[in-house]
Symmetry: C2
Subunit: 235 residues, 2 copies
């Protein structure tokens, strides 16, 4: 038996993983970034084969990642996490610079950056595991705390998108809510799958627990991807 | 340029990774445990080739891991993290059970467990990356928080041992202390390399910041591996 609730006990940070091939820049939000060796320092990332960034990573042979801080606005995560670089220029209006490997490195709301040259690519099924040797790294902000996946889920109430290695079918999560036996209105964003729960409100936007969806201000929008109220359907 | 302080912004949990081949059980403390795919759920671990557990993992074709909670005593981490299964039976006096894959699964001070069958082994230099498909998992304790590597470092003041993927040469860390310009006595445990800093004390054992090493009680011992005061040398 697999108990999906156990998955939430595994800790991750949240990162903006980026790459550039010729004039095309790509960037996505990842939680699976991890150091695999110390001498030399090498980092691994797991990227869905269907992600636009996977194509760019294969062609460029390099990636960078920036560590998101707790103060990162949900809109920034929504911009990089729930849209495709195929369709929009995610870097518009965002501060970044080009690293030694040619990768664009985002500095907005990030605490540190790492620039890596890919040494190995391993096929693990739906995803590719890219291993990169660290070429350069630096701190951007040493004071803010790193945004953890747990904080993102518990406080910002975000979910993993479908292509993430840690994606969990929402129907499994909803059972959790049903089992509490409380009346809880659920409204889901059709763009990013964030679920507004009346019982929890939306602390990020200052919405008190117990606020019904119909009582949300007209200008309230999805704290994850910025979609307006019309994008929400009742579950 | 590589700034090693940026490494501390990458988030990890702490895990007991275990395996068994015939009658030999092995277990070590790891921070690099991460999910690499969602369908089916697969997890990766990075294990030093010199670790005794790496041999057992190769032979058994399976591993389990348990997620350490914040309330885990430093001694438990010291037992599994700083000694070799070659020399001692780390499981003596510890609660565990044998999972479906045959791996011993530790339940003491842990919040959840995962039992995995190895599907791939990748060579990344000093370490092997073992990828395992999840066979079973469950929650042990849903109330305690997961122990993060950050909490271990900041509050419990532990370091990575030499074979860890995230090991950092201590001389690089000491610069950090020197740069503050404050008088700070440093005493290092010769067994696990934990450093007692008089400026910070040892909150885990109730030792106030500003307590000199010579003023520590005679029965004080290393909060990480349990070594007594005679095992400490002044830096």
């Amino acid at each position: 038996m697999i108990n999906f609730e156990s998955f939430f006990k595994v800790s991750y940070g949240l990162y903006l993983v980026s790459s550039k091939y010729q004039d095309t820049k790509a960037c996505y939000v990842a939680n699976t970034v991890f150091q695999v060796t110390a001498h030399p320092p090498k980092f691994g990332i797991s990227c869905n084969k269907d992600n636009f960034t996977a194509e760019i990573l294969r062609k460029s042979g390099a990636f960078a990642f920036s560590v998101l801080g707790e103060k990162a606005p949900a809109g920034l995560i929504g911009n990089f996490g729930y849209r495709s670089s195929r369709e929009i220029d995610k870097f518009k209006g965002v501060n970044y610079f080009i690293g030694k490997t040619g990768s664009p490195i985002v500095t907005d709301s990030c605490l540190a950056w790492f620039d890596c040259k890919i040494t190995d690519t391993f096929d693990v099924g739906s995803h590719l595991l890219f291993i990169g040797e660290l070429i350069a790294s630096d701190l951007i902000d040493s004071n803010d705390k790193s945004l953890t996946y747990n904080y993102y889920r518990e406080v910002m109430k975000g979910f993993s998108p479908k292509n993430a290695p840690t994606y969990i079918d929402e129907s499994k999560l909803k059972e959790e809510v049903k089992n509490t036996g409380k009346v809880n209105e659920l409204w889901q964003c059709q763009l990013c799958h964030y679920t507004y729960e009346s019982e929890k409100g939306d602390p990020i936007s200052g919405i008190e627990p117990g606020t019904k969806f119909e009582d949300l201000p007209d200008d309230w929008c999805c704290p994850i991807c910025g979609a307006d109220k019309s994008m929400f359907d009742r579950d």
